[in-house]
């Protein structure tokens, strides 16, 4: 029973932290660029504003346009319940493992692309096709990168993987581990629409991928989609930190352990956020035809991670 309560608590925590995370990255980037920047809790105000605004739907849009934001939001929230954010063995682990996480994320991406195509605008179609190019190479890489860890743990259950890494900490410098981390990091940049793959604050035709697909949305739909994007970022960050460096994750369900886990999570998220902000400031966006090359590199890294974990068991 406590387990299920914990799951819901975990999802609520994620929902609460996500916009703050995006806001923090944006604020830190602004500071690095010498600006004052909006405060880190600005996205909360944005969400509240959007929920109050009127929804305008194009005449050419179908039911899919209205349905998609809910699907995207629902799948991302479902993923937060399957990912070990603050506690490792969770009741939903039996239902959801690595493959379920990948499929849910892909489901969200799929509906987002469809929603981009639905109103029949040029920007939406363009964004959808670009997103599919990126997703086609990125999704298998997520699976492969985490699979490298799964081979070591003997199961694709994310909770089990975390427990395994906690059990022998020396495995952190395994080549399989590090290569998997590198691969997943590059894929995270691609999937969440960060530089150098996609600029999250641009609206120029030449450079948008994610923004192009959601250009037609307004009001609560836009709020749901933005929230879901922030959640996705949080999910990827927590995957990166908790799978590869799981110290702090609660293995027992005592309040002390949970508080420690929550603090550890916030700390790791902040560290990753700083890294990503620095990267975004330093790197220029890649031209679109160079993105498959970058993703190819991450695929090879993931492949090497799997083969080396497999053969060094």
């Amino acid at each position: 029973m406590t387990g299920y309560l914990l799951e819901i608590g975990q999802a609520l925590l994620a929902l609460l932290l996500a916009p703050g995370l995006t806001g923090f990255i944006r604020w830190f980037k602004a500071r690095l660029q010498g600006r004052r920047g909006a405060p880190p809790w600005q996205p909360y105000y944005d969400l509240r504003k959007l929920f109050g605004k009127e929804v305008i739907v194009s005449k050419n849009a179908s039911w899919l346009f209205r349905f998609a934001p809910y699907v995207i939001f629902a799948t991302t929230v479902a993923v937060t319940m399957l990912v070990p954010l603050i506690a490792a063995p969770l009741p939903f682990d039996a239902v959801g493992d690595l493959l379920a996480v990948v499929y849910l994320l892909l489901l969200g991406t799929f509906f987002l692309a469809l929603a981009g195509l639905d109103p029949g605008t040029a920007f939406g179609g363009m964004g959808a096709s670009r997103e599919m190019t990126v997703a086609a190479i990125a999704e298998p890489t997520i699976a492969l990168a985490i699979f490298g860890l799964a081979v070591g743990a003997g199961s694709t259950n994310l909770g089990r993987i975390v427990a395994q890494t906690l059990a022998n900490p020396g495995a952190v410098i395994n080549p399989g581990h590090l290569l998997g981390f590198a691969a997943l990091f590059i894929v995270m940049l691609a999937e969440t629409g960060r530089m150098p793959v996609d600029n999250p604050s641009t609206h120029l035709e030449l450079t948008m991928i994610h923004e192009a697909m959601i250009l037609e949305y307004s009001g609560r739909y836009l709020a749901l989609i933005e929230w879901a994007a922030a959640l996705k970022l949080l999910v990827f960050f927590s995957l990166l930190s908790n799978l590869f460096m799981p110290w702090g994750v609660a293995t027992t369900l005592t309040p002390v352990a949970l508080c420690v886990a929550a603090v550890a999570l916030v700390a790791k998220l902040a560290a990753l956020a700083v890294t990503v902000a620095v990267l975004e400031t330093r790197l220029a966006k890649l031209r679109l035809f160079r993105v498959p090359e970058l993703l190819g590199v991450s695929f090879v890294l993931a492949l090497l991670s799997v083969t080396s974990s497999f053969l060094l068991r």
């Binding site: 410098i173 080549p175 190819g296 590199v297 492949l303 080396s308 053969l311 060094l312």
Partner: protein, 221 residues
């Protein structure tokens, strides 16, 4: 395996992986300067790997080899390469025979092939460093692939040097290095081979006005 051996195994495999990754970087980047930098870093990590194996494996000859490797492949050869690069002009691998994305996937497949081929070696060896043997053979294959799939003569030279690095890594991981005299002879040969190649690239530049080997097609049947 005791703790000392486990740490040894992990560190040696880690350094072998990094060496391999720098080799794969050759397939990703396009500019000749990037290739020279990748080779430099790879040779640096390789000499660190030699020193590591010398320390853990209690073989002090390997320290000498690590130092010679450092001097030769991190300083001398890249210096010559950069000089070559400034003299022949800043050409980029804009249109390699196999494009970048496919090259990267082929590299991954080559490493898997290396794992398959070296199964008997890993099974037979009793050294803690045996986990990195497939990576060294993979690097050999990647070096060969760079030579085949790239058009600029300078890239082919760097590919050859990476191939030699792979073989040196294989020697280190398999047998803690070959006897010192032999190793020094090998280094001398590699240096001389490199110098000769360099001379010929200058000649290519002088006669063909470019180092694109696609132009070397006059000798047909």
């Amino acid at each position: 395996m005791n703790d000392h051996d486990t740490l040894f195994a992990q560190l040696s495999t880690l350094s072998a992986s990094v060496v391999l990754l720098f080799g794969i970087a050759l397939l990703w980047r396009r500019s000749l300067g990037a290739y020279i930098k990748a080779f430099r870093w790879q040779s640096l990590v390789l000499s660190i790997a030699f020193a590591l194996i010398g320390y853990f494996g209690n073989d002090h000859e390997l320290y000498i080899i690590a130092i010679v490797l450092l001097v030769l492949k991190v300083f001398v050869i890249p210096w010559y390469l950069s000089r070559l690069q400034t003299r022949v002009g800043a050409e980029r691998e804009a249109h390699p025979y196999v494009n970048v994305a496919t090259s990267l996937i082929v590299a991954g497949l080559l490493v898997m092939l290396a794992y398959a081929i070296t199964r008997p070696l890993v099974a037979v060896s009793r050294l803690p460093t045996r986990g990195g043997i497939p990576l060294a053979v993979g690097l050999i294959f990647v070096g060969l692939f760079v030579i085949i799939s790239r058009r600029k003569a300078l890239t082919q030279i760097v590919g050859f040097l990476v191939l030699e690095n792979g073989i040196a890594l294989l020697a280190a991981l398999c047998t803690y290095g070959i006897p010192l005299i032999v190793e020094l002879g090998v280094f001398l040969d590699v240096l001389m081979g490199f110098l000769v190649m360099q001379v010929i690239v200058y000649q290519i530049r002088d006669t063909f006005e470019s180092i694109d080997v696609e132009q070397l097609n006059q000798l047909r049947h």
